[in-house]
């Protein structure tokens, strides 16, 4: 059984390999082409509508002006400064919050009593929109960088804590018994079963958190600030400089998109066993 079995599995993919991959690759280019086309057509229509006077630049902005603003003010460093402030606040908050929250959630495994005590708090915190703490934190930490960082830290810590806690509770009892039966102590059960089986939960919370952290710092910037992309959106919109507001929006979207793909990449690196990213010939 074994040699034929092994041979069959090792040899089978080879045959269909190239054709299958090639078919998917050409698909991918078609999809990408369609995506670029949608953006190009939408922007072109928008520009046309403004030029023809169907809509006013005052209310809707103008793509060519957005582009001019993006290029010129990136060159003179103005946009770079604002983008950097937002990115700095967000990443600092995201990293600190995720680390603290994840560690707290995972360590609850060591105390079933504490997890039972904390369970209802977790449920209520999870159901509450976390952004409501933003005004309080602005009062506590002022209008500078610190209040935005703390908003992101708190939101990320709560979500990461809940996620890691969930992962811990879903760890497989039989797998833990197996590790104990082959001679593992509690620390082995923790590091070899609880932590790795919580990883999918942790990565899911990272995916959620990277977005929430951005929402958090931008909300903080809306509330009170002197720099950052949120400040730029808020201040230009109040002056009806729509093209500039939209330019800031584009930058925010670019940051959010890049981060999403980064977490995706991270997930593939950390969970090679769970992902469907490789072509799975063996059913």
């Amino acid at each position: 059984m074994s040699p034929s079995d092994a041979g069959g599995i090792a040899a089978a993919p080879r045959l269909g390999d190239d054709l299958y991959v090639a078919a998917h690759r050409s698909d991918r280019w078609v999809v990408l082409g369609a995506q670029v086309a949608i953006v190009a057509v939408a922007v072109a229509l928008w520009e046309l509508a403004v030029v023809k006077g169907w809509i006013t630049e005052f209310f809707f902005g103008k793509p060519s002006e957005v582009l001019r603003y993006l290029v010129e003010r990136t060159k003179d460093g103005y946009l770079v400064t604002h983008a950097w402030v937002t990115l700095y606040e967000e990443l600092l908050g995201f990293i600190a919050g995720t680390v603290v929250g994840t560690a707290a959630g995972l360590s609850l495994w060591w105390s079933p009593f504490l997890s039972r005590v904390l369970e209802p708090f977790a449920v209520v915190l999870n159901a509450t929109p976390k952004i409501v703490i933003a005004p309080i934190l602005v009062v506590w930490f002022g209008i500078g960088l610190m209040s935005k960082v703390m908003i992101a830290v708190l939101i990320c810590a709560i979500v990461a804590w809940l996620g890691a806690f969930d992962g811990v509770r879903n760890a497989d009892r039989d797998q833990m018994d197996m590790v104990r039966a082959v001679g593992g102590k509690r620390r082995h059960v923790f590091w070899k079963i609880v932590v790795p089986s919580s990883l999918p939960w942790i990565l899911t919370t990272m995916r959620i958190n990277i977005g929430l952290a951005l929402i958090g710092v931008i909300t903080g910037e809306f509330l009170s600030s002197t720099a950052g992309l949120g400040y730029l959106v808020d201040s230009t919109a109040k002056l009806y400089q729509m093209s500039h507001t939209i330019a800031a929006l584009v930058l925010i979207a670019a940051i959010a998109g890049a981060q999403f793909y980064f977490v995706n990449w991270l997930e593939r690196r950390l969970l090679p066993w769970a992902e469907d990213h490789e072509l799975d010939f063996i059913t």
Binding site: M1, S2, P3, D5, A6, I9, A10, D172, D174, Q175, D177, M178, V179, R180, A181, V182, G183, G184, K185, H188, K192, I193, P196, S197, L199, L271, P272, W273, A274, I282
Partner: protein
């Protein structure tokens, strides 16, 4: 069965006629709490397992078979009575005992090699040494070339062989098997049964197999203990003649196989409710 209970200790190591007692269940009772109810999983269960013996516990589901296994492996403890391993009460998992369940319990985030070495890691064996040992076991069980594959790439039968390699890597003397093959399709199961029995005989292990498959119990065991429904206890014991010198397949073809099969079936029948 009666003489086992009246003379629980057979301190005769080296005596070929009566091998020494390895595992001993002495009037064991185990109670669980389910919601607000008490469930007696096992009541006053007594049996012994001698060195290098292949014993099966056969019974309907819910007769406390898995409880029995957890008690021997030191993952759980009796409410009354005692479970002894080589004469000493079981206080926790022992390296002498290994188990294999219906679920292969392979860790999806570990490669095949890493799954096999997990027990050796917890025992602190150096990486090079444990990888060497795992590689030779993997090759021995026909999985060579799959060291770096993940469990999801393997079929059910292959996964169970990895589980066997993981269990045997720590070199236990006593093996507890809880329906290890029952999740496999019938043909794979028969093949695996042949392999498993051959390996366990070669390695000269003491085996306790928990099963509800009568034919399996007849063809592989030295002795079969028939277990009653909840609360579980041993209600009869039969010696089986086929385990020595026969593979399970050969045993099934023996003329007296059906006779032994029917003997066990009649004993079980009383507990079967459809």
């Amino acid at each position: 069965m009666h003489d086992m209970m009246t003379s629980p200790k057979q301190e005769t190591a080296g005596d070929a006629a009566r091998p020494r007692v390895r595992v001993e269940f002495d009037n064991v009772t185990k109670v669980f709490r389910q919601r607000d109810q008490q469930v007696v999983a096992v009541r006053d269960m007594s049996f012994t397992l001698h060195d290098r013996e292949f014993v099966s516990i056969l019974g309907p589901s819910g007769c406390g078979k898995s409880t029995t296994l957890k008690l021997i492996s030191g993952l759980d403890f009796p409410a009354a009575g005692s479970v002894r391993l080589d004469g000493a009460p079981v206080k926790g998992p022992s390296p002498k005992v290994g188990f294999m369940l219906q679920k292969d319990l392979l860790l999806p985030w570990r490669t095949i090699l890493e799954n096999v070495t997990i027990g050796l890691e917890t025992q602190g064996m150096p990486r090079a040494e444990r990888n060497d040992r795992a590689r030779s076991l993997i090759a021995k069980y026909g999985l060579g070339g799959f060291e770096n594959a993940y469990p999801r790439h393997l079929s059910g039968g292959m996964r169970q062989r990895v589980a066997l390699a993981r269990t045997l890597a720590a070199d236990p003397e006593i093996l507890l098997l809880d329906e290890p093959l029952s999740a496999l399709d019938y043909q794979t199961k028969l093949k695996m049964e042949e392999e498993l029995v051959r390996i366990l005989q070669e390695e000269r292990k003491t085996v306790l197999l928990i099963t509800h498959d009568i034919a399996e119990a007849v063809s592989v065991s030295d002795r079969v203990l028939v277990c009653s429904g909840r609360p579980g206890r041993i209600k009869a014991e039969f010696a089986m003649p086929f385990s020595k010198g026969h593979s399970p397949q050969e045993a099934r073809n023996e003329p007296s196989f059906n006779e032994h099969f029917n003997l066990l079936w009649r004993e079980l029948e009383a507990d079967v409710t459809i």
